[in-house]
């Protein structure tokens, strides 16, 4: 894992080296004189050898310093921190809605395997999976925002309650994209569990199907759910980038899109590291969560 973190930082650092031409000149749109450009180079240490630059980039990153935005004239860490809350709120809310959708759908699909309901859920999933989040977002805006007027169509709002109101449509958009992927994986995980011996034993004991599903199957299918959630954190984050842009939410995703528009390379670099760290941390948390759900993992 340490290697991954190091590699990710290296990729983020090196990416800017591949910018055709001088990144500083591009950022300043060619309006700067040679002296100004040279001064910025010296201030950012860009005149030093590459390995030295990387070591200081790494050393600073470890200390929580991701450089300075040249466009916004502020430390990248501060800009990111300011926008972290909205993104975290969105991700948490979207995950919650996704799990609420996924569990019953997967349960029904698995227990009615190859019956009409299973097929309906499967085909419905394919349709949901094919819906572009940015398009779904516009549709939800049109329906719930404009026609019904239930939810605001943009922004983040002030205070916990307003956050929930503002982020409902965006979270729903992400959930519609993510749920089909999870339902499919969880369904097959549950089917695996259902063929296990202890389920036969439970059935032989005369437990009701309902009780078997809720107590025995669901609990043992939770580990795969957590895995699948962790594996798909990348898609969750990718969806969030677009959805934040569509709904004008002041989060990391819309910051990334804006930074790309301005070619604000230090911010892009910093965000690349932050996004990759989020993925690594979530996978680590998933590993810890297994232990909570199933203590046998420890003994293995």
């Amino acid at each position: 894992m340490a290697l991954v973190v190091l590699g990710v930082t290296l990729v983020a650092f090196l990416s800017v080296q591949f910018v055709p031409g001088d990144p500083i000149r591009i950022m300043l749109h060619g309006r700067a004189t040679d002296e100004v450009v040279a001064a910025i180079h010296a201030r950012l240490g860009m005149d030093r050898p590459l390995y030295e630059q990387f070591l200081s980039f790494l050393w600073n990153a470890v200390q929580g310093d991701l450089g300075e935005s040249i466009i916004q004239q502020a430390p990248v860490t501060a800009i990111v921190a300011e926008r972290l809350e909205a993104s975290a709120f969105l991700l948490g809310y979207a995950t919650l809605i996704t799990v609420v959708f996924t569990l019953p759908l997967a349960l029904v699909a698995a227990s009615r395997k190859d019956r009409p309901v299973d097929h309906v859920i499967r085909v419905g999933g394919m349709i949901g999976f094919a819906m572009p989040p940015f398009w779904m977002g516009l549709l939800l805006m049109l329906l719930f925002g404009l026609t019904l007027g239930w939810f605001p169509i943009a922004g983040y709002g002030k205070g916990f309650f307003r956050h929930i109101v503002h982020l409902t449509l965006p979270s729903l958009t992400i959930a519609i994209f993510l749920t089909p992927i999870l339902v499919q994986s969880l369904r097959s995980a549950m089917l695996d569990v259902m063929t296990a011996d202890y389920i036969e034993v439970a059935r032989a004991k005369g437990l009701s199907e309902r009780r078997i599903l809720m107590k025995h199957v669901l609990r043992n299918a939770l580990i795969p759910t957590i895995t699948v959630l962790a594996v798909n954190i990348g898609w969750l984050l990718s969806g969030a980038v677009i959805v934040e842009y569509v709904f004008s939410i002041p989060g990391l995703g819309s910051l990334l899109v804006r930074a790309v528009g301005f070619r604000d390379y230090p911010v892009i670099q910093g965000l690349a590291v932050v996004f990759a760290m989020l993925v690594v941390i979530v996978n680590l948390l998933a590993d810890l969560a297994y232990i909570l759900v199933d203590r046998r993992v420890l003994r293995r």
């Binding site: 290697l3 085909v123 572009p132 516009l138 049109l142 499919q184 089917l191 980038v241 528009g261």
Partner: protein, 291 residues
């Protein structure tokens, strides 16, 4: 001579119809949807009632009617014609961004799984690092360096998208490489290249083919998403995502500009998913259809 060709073509057609008879329903329906869309794209110049770039300001923002089946946009362009031409752009980019990386992804993964050792370690570490980035974020970062546009989307996706295929092929190869037929081929003194590509590949490529259908959908979503963000196909090209983006500012006056191209996108994606689902059933690996 003529009897010979007739005989062989009958044989081929019976083989095709026999294979088709084995197709699950979802494969038939999916194939029908995707086939229709592809044919419509190829025949776009014949079917499209208008030039996709022709602007008629007297007919701007016209809702769907008989003359314009999907309405017109803010510049008076016929959306139906633009959607038809959009098939060429989106399906082509989707196809290339899926199957080009698949070729070297599978080859690399298969080789890594077969040889093991330091080569395997290097490939796996590169995989781990590439997969730590959310896919879209990595593509956006690469595009921010190379600049927006279709050509750079190809470069960005080709750099990143092989990873899933390499992982799948490697996992399958680890199972396959100790089987008897591989050991037999090795005992016969065949070269590694021949064993990997002639013997093992036909047995390990199915999971990648099934995954490629879901990947195809994701790549169409990716390209349209990037174009929606202004990083992909540039206007006035009739790309679906760019069209949805153009209609965004008019969404409350003219809902059809954004919604109808999106609907075609959903149809194409659903068709591809159905093909993937059908192939998974045909290959007997039901659970892997969707990612």
């Amino acid at each position: 001579m003529s009897t010979y060709t007739t005989a062989s073509s009958t044989l081929l057609s019976t083989r095709i119809s026999r294979e088709m008879a084995l197709w699950p329903l979802s494969l038939k329906i999916g194939f029908g949807i995707v086939g229709t869309i592809v044919v419509a794209g190829i025949l776009a110049p014949v079917i499209a009632p208008y030039d996709p770039f022709f602007q008629d300001f007297t007919a701007a923002l016209v809702p769907p009617n008989l003359e314009h089946p999907l309405g017109t946009d803010m510049l008076g362009r016929d959306i139906f014609s633009r959607v038809l031409y959009g098939i060429r752009i989106d399906m082509q980019i989707g196809f290339l961004t899926t199957y080009v990386p698949m070729i070297y992804g599978v080859a690399l993964g298969a080789a890594a799984g077969y040889f093991g050792g330091w080569f395997d370690t290097v490939v796996m570490r590169v995989l781990d690092i590439a997969m730590a980035f959310p896919f879209l974020v990595l593509i956006i970062v690469i595009l921010s360096i190379l600049g927006p546009g279709v050509q750079n989307i190809y470069i960005a996706v080709f750099l990143v998208a092989w990873t899933m295929y390499a992982r799948l092929a490697r996992a399958e190869m680890l199972v396959e490489r100790n089987k008897d037929y591989i050991l037999a081929a090795r005992a016969l003194g065949y070269g590694s290249g021949r064993i990997i590509f002639r013997h093992a590949l036909p047995n390990i490529v199915n999971s990648s083919i099934v995954f490629s259908m879901a990947d195809f959908v994701l790549n169409i979503l990716l390209v349209s998403g990037l174009s929606f963000l202004g990083l992909g196909v540039q206007p006035p090209a009739p790309e679906w995502g760019a069209m949805i983006a153009e209609g965004r500012d008019f969404i409350f006056q003219a809902w059809w500009i954004s919604t109808l191209p999106g609907l075609v996108l959903v149809l194409a994606g659903t068709g591809l998913s159905l093909v993937g689902d059908g192939l998974a059933q045909r290959f007997g690996q039901r659970q892997q259809a969707l990612l």
